[in-house]
Subunit: 259 residues, 2 copies
């Protein structure tokens, strides 16, 4: 049987330890091709490069790897997936995995996430896709407890497929393996960021701001990704790119648009 | 009665004719504050500025306007809304309107849209929000047929509120006013872009790409935004930022995660 073709990408850039971990895990499941940004792209949301050119570079195989093809790309995570599918791969991949992100993409973070935008882009193109994130922002975070769970989730996705129009948003708590309780299918928790702008003055006398913020959970549900993560589970949220709020259509139809 | 406070933003930049049109329209409905990018941000999706600084500049009032406050911001559309709400405005706006975008944000375009990301950001912060787009990419597009409809939609939103967790994605066809049939509440059509990368060689001998593409409608429904636009209606899609595919939770719960 032909091995599955697995497209690996991320938003932290092609050298990120999270991506290198994911590549090693995916090699146990199939043939791996990497197309990932040449520099960090965190917080890029679903940005694409419209008014500028894209560069792509075929990389030398890393010495710790065994011969998979790798390309870096000057664009966003969504650009990487588009370029991979249209230009760089000679067949459609069986699955696209993005990550492992250094930092959480649970709850409202999914909206800002470059990791998830890459997965969603693949989903739009009809390819089963999963974004993986570890709730630890450190560059030298420990990914060792995540491996067996990631392999299980990807194996299930390759076996069962993923429902049409859906991509998976997987978040892994920062916990020692012995404390991990398993995998939980969840909904996205209601939350937002309470921003605070740190206002400073440049050496040239100009005001500028750094965006900082505090995460605010607005949801007490026990079926959410935040609950799962806080209680030792890996959260899996089925995520869609049909943004229609179907439940609101009827209410809006009662609006009066005269004349 | 106190006039409503209306925050106006966009993704084409503070000088865009679409934004100037929206400002003039909103002045008939309330007090207007503009916080918009200092340069075009199309295709920025829900990007935010995490690893860099933000500048904001208070603008001189335009001569064609009558004294509303305006700020340009070096960041993305989502940054503009965050900065407006946390730093620049002294009270919570009653509504946030984004646009009028030069170009369509119907169907799958909502995912890539800076216009809609600004509206969604306001929605996340609990502010009623609407993105307006004209299906005409020209910088000197004719917005005159859109005015009365935009005013009606914003008036209804100020009167009735917008359902919680929902922002409105409004697209306006490029049509003479006499051919416009009215406003239709719709769902997001299934569609994607068939990308084509235009590969070129730089004067320095380096390969590079331009992203181009062709829009592919994959949906024959007559309740979609694409159908409405093609049939002379202004489309209004209630759009949500809870991306959970609730219908898929049950299927995923049947997956087997052994050991």
């Amino acid at each position: 049987m032909k091995k599955p073709l697995i497209l690996v990408t991320n938003d932290d850039g092609i050298t990120a330890p999270g991506l290198r971990t994911l590549v090693m895990l995916m090699k146990t499941l199939g043939d791996v091709i990497v197309v990932a940004p040449d520099s960090p792209q965190s917080g890029m949301g679903h940005a694409i490069t419209l008014d500028s050119t894209l560069y792509s570079k075929k990389m030398k195989t890393n010495t710790d790897d065994t011969g998979n093809e790798e390309y870096s790309c000057s664009g966003t995570p969504a650009d990487c997936v588009k370029l991979a599918l249209q230009e760089l791969l000679d067949r459609k991949p069986d699955i696209c995995v993005s990550g492992i992100n250094h930092g959480s993409n649970s709850s409202i973070n999914v909206i800002y996430s470059g990791t998830m935008s890459a997965a969603i882009e693949a989903g739009i193109e009809g390819i089963p896709a999963i974004g993986f994130s570890l709730c630890d922002y450190n560059w030298d975070a420990d990914f060792s407890h995540a491996g067996s769970f990631i392999t299980k989730i990807v194996t299930q996705a390759l076996t069962n497929g993923i429902p049409k129009g859906v991509v998976l948003n997987v978040n892994i708590p920062k916990l020692e393996k012995k404390y991990l309780k398993g995998i939980k299918i969840c909904r996205q928790a209601k939350a937002n960021w309470k921003e605070k702008f740190d206002k400073r003055i440049s050496p040239m006398g100009k005001d500028y701001y750094w965006l900082t913020g505090k995460f605010e959970l607005l949801d007490k549900g026990e079926d959410t990704d935040e609950w799962a993560l806080a209680n030792g589970f890996i959260s899996v949220v089925p995520t869609q790119f049909d943004l229609t709020a179907h439940h609101a259509i009827q209410e809006l139809n009662s609006w009066v648009f005269r004349g």
